[in-house]
Symmetry: C2
Subunit: 341 residues, 2 copies
C-alpha cells in the first residue's frame, strides 16, 4: 500500500477523496454538485431516475487528452462536447450525461475546478444536464493527471440517420475546415507558438444540428470526424453502406495554419482529428441548402460540398488530387498523435 | 511524443490500437464485438439506438481496482456487476451497458481477452447487453494497466426506492456477511495466502433483486455497500431520511476470515467495501420474509436483520456493541485501501 501524503485539502486531490467517506462527500458536493447543480443529480441515489420515451440514443466516451489544456479548449469542454456530439450525430437531443472522473493523487484542486467550470459552461450550450457521476482517485503515477468518462442519453428526434444509409448520388458535405483539433494538440504538445491563430475546433454541435432538424432536412448519414479524421469517417461509411465515395481534395476546406503544420510534420489534414466538425451525406438536390444552414448557425462558416456517393468502387474512398489524378484514400494506420481526445 | 514500441499485435496492446484507424477496428471487432455480440452493438453507429419507455435508471462507474485479478473476480466481472447492481438497487432491470476501456500501452492482449470474457459471462447472468463502447490507449506509464468505465440504463420496475424513504420502525437488513471484497483485495495486494477460503463477494445482484420485486415486497431503501462499506450506506441513509439508525454489532454477519484480517490490519468490517452485498430498509412486519427470499436466491445464505430505523438521533447511526454499550458509527474517514474498485 502506498503511504498517504497529507496535502492540504484545498490544494491537491488526495487518495481519501476517492475513499467513499467524508472527504469524498466534501469534494463531490463542493465541486461537482455545485457546478452541475440540478435536482436529479442532487437526489444522490445509486442511479439517476429519468423519464424517457421512445427511441433513445446512448453513447460513451473516455477522454485522456494530453495536455489537459490546449488552444480552444480543455479536457472538460472536450468531454461534454464529445458525448453531446455523438448524440447529436444520431439526430438525438443531448438530454442527460453521466460524468466519471479518474484523478491522479496530487492533482491540483484549482485545475479540477477550472475543468469542471468548463464542463458546466459547455453543458449550458445544449441544455444538457449531468445527472449521475463517479469519482476515483488513484495513487501518484497510476494515471496521468485526469481522465474523464462521459456517457449520454437523449431522445432521437430524427431517426434513420445511419452509416448504412448512404445512397449513390448523395452529396458529401463537411461542416468546416478540417484538422484543427489534431493540429492544436500537436502544437500544445510540441510547445509551438508560431501558429498563434490556430485553435481546436472543439465545439458543441447540437445548436447547428438542431437547426438542421428544425429545417426538416433529409440526412442519410452524419458523423463527427474525431479520431482518424475525415479519412476514417468516409472509409467506414463506404464499407458499411457498400458504396464508393469520391472526394475532391481541392474542395476540402483546410486552414493555412493546419496546412503549415501538416507540411512541417508530414501529416495529412484528412487524417487529423476534429472535435467540432462533422460530415454529412444528403441528397444532392438539397446539398447547397444544407451548407447554407451550417454556415449560418455553425462556428466556422467554411462548410463545403466535397464529393459524392457513387455506385462503383464499393467500400472505397477515391480522392481526386488538385492535379486531376486519383488515388484511394485509406483508413489511417498507426498512431501519429496519441491521446488526442 | 513518446516513441512507439512495435510489439506483435497479438501479444500486447499498442498505441495504434487507440488511433481510430485500422488497428483499432481490428481490436474492437476481434475482441469486444466477438465477446459482447448483439445487433445493437454491431450496428456501429455513433450511439446505440434503444427503445425505452417510462421511468429509467441511469448510472456510471469507473473501475481502477488493483490488482486486476483477485480471489473471486477481476476488474471485468466487477465492472459489469458494479453497474448492474447500481441499477438493481433502484429497482431497475439492468438492460443496457456502455463499456469504455482506457488501456496502457503494452498491456497483454491475453489478459484483455480474459477480462472481456469475464465481463461477457457476468452480463449473461442478468441478460444485460453492452450496446456501445470506447477504446483509448495511453502511452506506457500514463495509466496502470487497465481502467474500465461502465454506464448503464434500465427500466425501473419498482419505483420509489430511495435514500429519502426510510421510516421509523423499518428493519435494516444486510444481504450477507460483510467486508469480503475489501479483505480479498487487501489479501491480493499484500500477497497473503493464509486465508485461502476468502473470496470477494463480487456478484451480480439482479437475480436476487428480481425475486424481491416479483414477490412484491415493500422496499423503502436499498443500496449495495461498496466503497465506505456498511458504515457509509447507513450514515448516508440516516442523513438523507433525517432518521436515526441503530444496529447491533452482534447481529452483523462477518466471516472468520474477514474478522481475522481486520484484527491483523486494524480495520473494521463495517468500513470495508463489498461488491455483491446490499442493505435494505423494509417494514418490520415483512423483514423475516425478505431475509428468507435473499437467503434462498442470493449467494451467501447469511442475510440478517441487523437493526432498525428510529425517530431519534436524527442523521446518526448508533452501534450497540456485544457488551451492551453504544457508540456512534461514523462515516469512514481517510483512505485505508485505495483502488478497491
Amino acid at each position: 500500500m502506498s503511504v498517504e501524503i497529507k496535502l492540504p485539502t484545498e490544494k491537491a486531490v488526495q487518495l481519501s477523496h476517492g475513499g467513499g467517506g467524508k472527504e469524498m462527500n466534501n469534494l463531490i458536493k463542493s465541486i461537482f454538485f455545485k457546478a452541475f447543480a440540478n435536482p436529479i443529480l442532487a437526489s444522490e441515489e445509486d442511479a439517476a431516475v429519468l423519464n424517457l420515451d421512445g427511441p433513445t440514443a446512448f453513447t460513451t466516451d473516455s477522454f485522456t487528452v494530453s495536455p489537459l489544456f490546449f488552444a480552444g479548449g480543455d479536457i472538460g469542454k472536450l468531454a461534454v462536447a464529445g458525448t453531446v456530439n455523438d448524440l447529436a450525430m444520431m439526430g438525438a437531443e443531448p438530454q442527460y450525461l453521466s460524468c466519471s472522473f479518474i484523478i491522479e493523487e496530487g492533482f491540483a484542486i484549482a485545475s479540477l475546478k477550472q475543468i469542471v467550470a468548463s464542463m458546466a459552461s459547455e453543458l449550458h450550450k445544449s441544455g444538457t444536464r449531468v445527472v449521475c457521476g463517479d469519482t476515483k482517485v488513484v495513487p501518484k503515477g497510476c494515471a496521468d493527471g485526469l481522465f474523464i468518462n462521459t456517457s449520454g442519453v437523449g431522445r432521437i428526434l430524427k431517426p434513420h440517420i445511419s452509416v448504412n444509409h448512404l445512397q449513390p448520388g448523395d452529396a458529401i458535405i463537411v461542416s468546416g475546415d478540417i484538422g484543427r483539433h489534431g493540429a492544436a494538440i500537436l502544437m500544445a504538445r510540441e510547445g509551438l507558438n508560431l501558429e498563434s491563430d490556430l485553435r481546436s475546433d472543439c465545439a458543441n454541435l447540437w445548436p447547428v444540428v438542431e437547426q438542421l432538424i428544425a429545417a426538416n432536412i433529409t440526412i442519410h448519414a452524419m458523423r463527427d470526424a474525431t479520431r482518424g479524421g475525415l479519412a476514417a469517417v468516409l472509409n467506414e461509411w463506404a464499407q458499411a453502406s457498400k458504396v464508393g465515395i469520391s472526394v475532391a481534395e481541392s474542395q476540402i476546406p483546410v486552414s493555412d495554419e493546419v496546412k503549415g503544420l501538416c507540411e512541417l510534420y508530414g501529416f495529412e489534414p484528412h487524417d487529423l482529428a476534429n472535435e467540432g466538425t462533422f460530415i454529412l451525406a444528403v441528397p444532392q438536390t438539397i446539398a447547397s441548402g444544407v451548407v447554407e444552414i451550417i454556415n449560418r448557425y455553425g462556428d466556422s462558416q467554411t462548410a463545403a460540398i466535397i464529393g459524392q456517393v457513387e455506385d462503383n468502387h464499393h467500400g472505397k474512398v477515391i480522392l481526386t488530387t488538385p492535379w486531376g489524378s486519383t488515388r484511394y484514400l485509406d483508413l489511417p494506420q498507426g498512431e501519429l498523435l496519441p491521446r488526442i481526445c
